[in-house]
Symmetry: C2
Subunit: 327 residues, 2 copies
């Protein structure tokens, strides 16, 4: 089986590739070819060095998609995108990378299939940013997509394309709407959502973290391990069960910032909690107030996608996967 990961240098992309290395039978049959693609050269795990190629390619460059697809991967994970803030700051770049790059990939697959029959599985990383406020208390699977960012618009458009290309038989697509991933490994970044991870990751490492919002803020989370699980499950699922509505809101945990902190107290003690410094930021508070807080995600759960059910679990996964199990 030939597996391609586009966006393999990103956080979820890297973890997905690590999962292939850890479980060589991730797909029921062995991966005999793995192509890792990103704008910077992705890292090949040693266990997969014999079958892997790492390519530094921008999908939105002319012919880039056609060159990738000429190798006829059986499963394509498409996680490449520029993030929300950048897509908002640079309108042209956001549409070029997030929309035109994805459309170029889909078109390359369609054209390859006209040359010689070809119908890969395509798993597309979408986002709950396809939704825009005001929201119902719990967003159902049939709620409309009215994004309030260009990033969310680009993701919603790619979802529509994915469904249409699938309906027409050009490929077998699934769109995966990721929750906010928590705890993100690494260092604090400038993303407005960064604090959700920072207030757990930094205290677990003995470092201070800033909390810019109230403890009553509610949001929608899944661990990096769940995110990888979504993609692996999407690659293996019987798509006949999904029908033509190919974009799925993934399950997640709806939780308060206060619940994050309580879980931290239970797992790491009062000393860790004291490392959270309250520093209200009205700008971040306003941005976050426009974000979705809870989803039904019934379809995805019925299709076998799973996520965490409490923050203790999310913290323990971070300790296992990032801190070598030691805290």
């Amino acid at each position: 089986m030939h597996v391609m990961v586009i966006g393999a240098a990103g956080m979820v992309g890297r973890k997905l590739v690590e999962a292939f290395a850890a479980g060589p039978d991730s797909f029921g049959k062995p991966i005999d070819r793995l192509t890792l693609v990103d704008v910077i050269p992705p890292t090949i795990p040693p266990a997969l060095s014999g079958v892997s190629a790492a390519l530094a390619i921008d999908l939105s460059d002319a012919d880039a998609a056609a060159r990738l697809i000429a190798t006829r991967p059986d499963v394509i994970f498409h996680l490449a995108a520029i993030v929300s803030g950048e897509a908002e700051a640079d309108f042209d770049k956001g549409y070029r990378v997030n929309l035109d790059g994805t459309r170029a990939l889909f078109e390359a697959i369609r054209h390859e299939g006209r040359r010689e029959p070809y119908k890969p599985r395509v798993i597309f990383a979408s986002s709950i940013a396809v939704f825009g406020e005001p929201f119902p208390e719990k967003i159902g699977d049939e709620f409309f997509t009215t994004p309030l960012t260009s990033y969310g618009t680009q993701k919603a458009i790619c979802e529509l394309l994915l469904s249409d290309y699938t309906r027409r038989g050009f490929f077998d697509g699934i769109g995966i709407r990721l929750p906010t991933i928590c705890i993100r490994p690494g260092t604090p970044n400038k993303a407005a959502s960064g604090f959700f991870s920072n207030i757990l990751r930094e205290p677990l490492a003995g470092q201070e973290a800033v909390l810019p919002v109230d403890e009553s803020v509610r949001h929608w989370f899944a661990s990096p391990r769940s995110a990888v699980g979504f993609f692996l499950h999407a690659a293996l699922i019987d798509t006949a069960k999904i029908g033509p509505r190919r974009n799925l809101t993934m399950p997640g945990l709806s939780a308060l910032v206060g619940e994050e902190i309580e879980a931290l107290r239970r797992v790491a003690g009062e000393k860790a909690v004291r490392l959270i410094r309250r520093e209200p930021d009205p700008v971040i508070r306003r941005i976050v107030s426009g974000w979705a807080t809870d989803f039904d995600a019934r379809r995805a759960r019925e299709l076998g996608f799973t996520a965490e059910s409490n923050f203790d679990e999310i913290i323990r996964i971070h300790i296992d996967d990032e801190l070598g199990g030691n805290f």
Copy 2:
């Protein structure tokens, strides 16, 4: 005021232009320039000949949109599209005309605005084809768009672009999701939806018409006069009242084929009804069974959009507008 109609040779486009001719104060201030655009040269009504230009231009041709927008129209009605059947039969043409043509228009407006401030009102003709079955009994304003045709996909994508370009301040857009227009003037065509109009229009003209489905089939209708009314209202409305959710399901009449026939009996008598020949067509029955039957359309009604409330009214409008008031 400079008004541009793209798709001015189509049925609704022509009626919209006729409405300008009949009511020179359609916009509160006079139309001192009218640009009519279509792939074939649109007809200029005599009353508007002094201020009008008719252009045969394909919006999806290179630079076509930029040339049109260089004239800086204040109000742009964009009704140009290839129809559902053709977009399904010719994948490339559908995306080129319905998606890329519209995006080129939006981009041309954005670039013109960078050259010199410019923010026209853009009214986009969308369709209930953005929805795909299964449906709730009545489709609410927050129901998701999961089209089951490439045409519906292209319309749904343009809706997303319209909202994003509006949110970014590039223009002031409104998407108008039209019901099935009934009674369509002209002659019977091959469209699967044609019979809804044929079974009224043809008997009113003393001609036979074929009914390929049961009388229990329900669908969603508005007259051509209502369609024109939607566009005129959209051009004048205070868009601050709409907010960021710029695509509106227009009001309409949910009615059974049997109700169409009863209205025909009331207005035109048993002799007219006898001209309807039942000729069940399983293909058309299957296509129609996948169409939406009823909408809430509350937002549009609250914003002042109106349509017919019974089929007697729809028939009388046809008699007034197409048969010179005489039956």
